[in-house]
């Protein structure tokens, strides 16, 4: 049975580059759902390859009603709030995505492969953006099961560390992203009832500019803080 693929954040910074590449290489018989929230798609026409959906992280359960629950599902989760207000990030990225995962696990009768486009900032937390990405990583690790395979990719430059290079490197990201998550292999595996590519540890999307960031925690050990 061919899986269906849900791309969240399809009109966002990375999504609008990734979507054409997905559509271009799309094989017949598989449904591709592109979900958007704040920015409406420029061409929202619905075809046999692509269906557009409105997706609000705070009410993400609604999207699941529109997906076939008896097919394996691949979710490429790019959506996030981009807000720098922590309360908003908590409400949407953190709690919203966690509810989304819980609903997926509860209602999908077929296996789910969940790819989270995380960020280098998930380990630095320079921005609230990174807090949200990191929280979703923890949610995914908690949600992992034989029928729910998470795959976490930390990207530079989309926001936070390396953003000044985004306009230079962005064009390379979709291809690298799909390669790093082993997209074609994983879709094929889902079709054949085998587990897709996934790992509990984050993988990194690095290119020439991103090589400047060395993965690893920068936090100090236990030290006094206070007043």
């Amino acid at each position: 049975m061919p899986p269906c693929v849900l791309l969240t954040g399809a009109t966002g910074r990375l999504g609008k580059l990734l979507l054409p590449q997905l559509v271009q290489g799309w094989s017949g018989g598989t449904d591709l759902y592109a979900a958007w929230h704040r920015r409406a798609p420029e061409d929202a026409s619905v075809g046999h390859r692509l269906k557009w959906l409105r997706f609000d992280l705070e009410r993400a359960d609604a999207v699941i009603n529109l997906l076939p629950t008896d097919k394996p599902l691949a979710v490429l989760h790019l959506a996030c709030s981009m807000s720098n207000v922590m309360r908003t990030v908590l409400r949407t990225d953190c709690f919203g995505t966690t509810r989304f995962l819980a609903a997926l696990k509860e209602r999908m009768s077929a296996p789910v492969w969940f790819v989270h486009a995380s960020s280098i900032d998930a380990e630095r937390n320079d921005l609230n953006y990174g807090l949200g990405k990191s929280y979703v990583e923890n949610s995914l690790v908690s949600a992992a099961s034989p029928r729910f395979t998470p795959c976490i990719v930390r990207l530079p430059a989309v926001e936070g560390p390396g953003f000044e290079r985004w306009h230079v490197d962005a064009g390379n990201f979709p291809g690298m992203f799909l390669e790093r998550i082993k997209f074609e292999e994983s879709i094929s595996a889902l079709q054949q009832g085998r587990p897709p590519h996934g790992t509990p540890e984050p993988i990194y999307l690095l290119n020439e500019s991103a090589g400047r960031w060395t993965p690893g925690k920068r936090r100090r050990g236990h030290e006094e803080s206070g007043t």
Partner: protein
């Protein structure tokens, strides 16, 4: 005086109190703009005065979870500190900022005796051991905290930027301080607190306290709260570290969970 709801049963699922204090939309907006909000009252100075013997006895118990530092995380072994940390007055208001499920992950008693040293300007962000770094703190005055005895100061709106910190140069200094080239001290405001009052502050707001130049002790308790789904880096803390669900529930179970101490 009842400081907290009973948590003698299942500490993983404390009740959510009816009529629990919360922040209004205007207060939330003020916190988000200023980086702190308060003071609020947990109890009267007289009520806090009556707790002093309990607090003084509790600090001296030999059961401190972090053996090297008797001031650290005493909510783990002393009920009086647990009840202060888990009080609806603090937890309810912070819930307005962090959401319905709240986890107590750290507390520290700061006991500044007469002559006690200054704590330099700093942001807490790099001292917290959370992944992700989601934290909201309350600083509760156990004694009156005034400009004379080393009360708190904040720089409003400073939570929007990361200020470079420089390491200490002598062993008896505070671990790291904000580079003063990036601190506009002319904007500092005093946060005087009566015993029993507390202030809520953002992990990135610049804060500081002067040396205690008075003849009175200035003791405070900082209460650090986060949300389920945040992993505490216990390797940077101490073995036996536990978290406590003080509101709502924890569906993640990422951390070792504790029960409220009996006494």
């Amino acid at each position: 005086m009842t400081l907290a709801y009973s948590t003698a049963g299942d500490a993983t699922k404390p009740p959510v109190g009816i009529g629990e204090p919360s922040l209004s939309a205007a207060e939330i907006a003020e916190f988000e703009e200023q980086g702190f909000i308060g003071p609020y009252t947990l109890c009267s100075p007289e009520e806090m005065q009556r707790l002093h013997p309990l607090i003084d006895e509790a600090v001296e118990r030999k059961s401190a979870p972090f053996r090297r530092d008797k001031w650290e995380s005493r909510h783990q072994d002393c009920r009086v500190f647990y009840d202060l940390c888990a009080s609806p007055e603090i937890v309810g208001r912070i819930s307005s900022l962090l959401g319905p499920d709240i986890v107590l992950w750290n507390s520290v008693v700061f006991n500044k005796m007469p002559g006690g040293r200054e704590v330099p300007w700093h942001q807490d962000r790099d001292f917290l051991l959370l992944d992700p770094n989601i934290n909201c703190s309350a600083w509760l005055a156990i004694d009156d905290a005034t400009p004379e005895n080393g009360g708190l100061q904040f720089i409003p709106r400073s939570h929007g930027e990361q200020v470079p910190h420089v390491p200490r140069v002598r062993a008896n200094q505070f671990n790291a301080r904000a580079d003063l080239a990036y601190v506009d001290r002319s904007k500092a405001v005093d946060m005087a607190l009566r015993a029993g009052q507390f202030v809520i502050f953002h992990k990135d707001v610049l804060h500081h306290s002067e040396a205690n130049l008075s003849l009175k002790r200035r003791m405070g308790l900082v209460v650090r709260l986060t949300v389920p789904g945040v992993k505490v880096n216990t390797a940077g803390l101490f073995s036996g570290h536990q978290v406590y669900v003080v509101r709502g529930e924890d569906r993640f179970r990422l951390n070792m969970m504790g029960m409220a101490p009996a006494d």
